[in-house]
Symmetry: C2
């Protein structure tokens, strides 16, 4: 394969220069010539600060490596546009919270002469605040074999922990991991401001977990809950178990409490 | 006041030598002569290891300071026994996850010649694994003014963060803090083993929070959910909001998702 992932001359085109596209650029400019496309003009100053050239979608799609950081809502149109402009031998990578659907769209719409790797960085700007070291990223090979070289780059150059998996296994596991986290965060946020004074360590951890996802774009929640084919079953299970518990707690005590000591945890 | 909290000769009697009574003894033996009562004989070796004299409830109840670390289920009988044996000028302290009920029982059953302070250490053996420094304890003055000297001891000698409050304010706040933590932990535990591979930082925090309470005695959950007068309302609110969210997620997308970038957080 002529293309290599870590020579300065290799070009990367980022489609969608929002929170995540910008986070990616912050680390990729050291290794690649980075250009980006975003429908919003609000990103211009940030692009300049990061040394990223803003250009058209068609132009960005002609890079050696195309990184799709667009929202699920516009994912299919974006891939259609890239399909028209991308060069033979290009590597197309997406980053998104769900993988089954997007992987299928890329496989279907992108020409056979490009390689495809579907990824999901299991972090965002918040958890990457202190650097990428040790953070996790799921990598799903879709077409071609360049995922091995990509994985090596993510591991060695960015310090990420790489989990090579399939879109199905990814979505099955994140339906629980992200589905439950966002579901619980949503419910607790609706309960209003949470106590901060008489808190236990476990409640502090719970509050911290919620704080990490509460500022995610609404699309993230929608994508996780609606676009992940396994999310509904997990959600249903959680709500059913919660309902069962609610019934149990409304009923009188099943058996006389055993004579154990009450811990204040 | 003749009694002072921190002379070696001052005696402390711990009623209930379970997980929490033992944790307390571990720190109190350095400051007091500690005796303990527990209906179970299984605690003998631990008592010996900690240098705690095991004796009768009547004997323990005659100490200068009586620390009630008995479960809610036997709390009232225990206080009745202490009321018969306690000495004038004694300081009676309880440690439990709820305060309104126990405080009322102590105020009602204990003789007027003893001082009473209701407390809730907002931690257990798990969160105290690395010492007490900075851990929180709620202190509710019930009778007499020795809570000030007690608070000073907890702060200076044990390094705890002391929150002086009322049983009502305590229960109102912990109904959310502990009520929600244990409720969510219970539901998630019933979902079976949680993923550990493709996890986000926020999910790791959530898992850590659950791990901290999942080994608490069943009585702790029952006490928090049933004996806290404010817990049912909080619970009901959580379940109702969860049900609302469930309905919303089953309905089609309200508005076309805005063109923001999908973050993998």
């Amino acid at each position: 394969m002529s293309k290599t992932i870590s020579k300065q001359h290799t070009s990367i085109g980022i489609v969608g220069f929002g929170a995540f596209g910008q986070l990616a650029a912050r680390y990729l400019t050291a290794h690649f010539a980075v250009a980006a496309y975003d429908p919003s003009s609000a990103v211009a100053s940030m692009a300049q600060r990061l040394g990223v050239r803003l250009t058209s979608l068609h132009d960005v799609a002609q890079a050696d490596i195309v990184l799709i950081a667009a929202p699920v809502s516009s994912f299919e149109q974006v891939v259609e546009q890239i399909a028209k402009a991308c060069n033979p031998g290009a590597l197309i990578i997406d980053v998104g919270s769900v993988k089954v659907g997007p992987a299928e769209i890329m496989r279907k719409l992108l020409p056979g002469h490009v390689d495809i790797v579907a990824t999901h960085p299991l972090f965002g700007p918040q958890s990457a605040a202190n650097g990428l070291k040790g953070l996790k990223i799921a990598v799903c090979p879709i077409r071609g074999n360049r995922h091995t070289r990509l994985a090596a780059f993510l591991r060695k150059s960015l310090g990420l922990t790489v989990i090579v998996t399939t879109p199905e296994d990814h979505d099955r596991e994140t339906a629980i991991v992200q589905g439950l986290t966002h579901l619980i965060a949503k419910v607790l946020l609706r309960m209003g401001p949470l106590p901060t004074r008489m808190t236990t360590r476990s409640f502090d951890l719970l509050s911290e977990a919620i704080a990490m996802v509460q500022h995610d774009a609404p699309e993230v929640f929608e994508a996780i809950e609606r676009s992940n084919p396994y999310a509904e079953a997990v959600r249903r299970r959680f709500f059913d178990l919660a309902a069962d518990l609610s019934v149990e707690l409304d009923a009188p005590l099943p058996s006389p409490a055993r004579n154990e000591v009450l811990i204040g945890e």
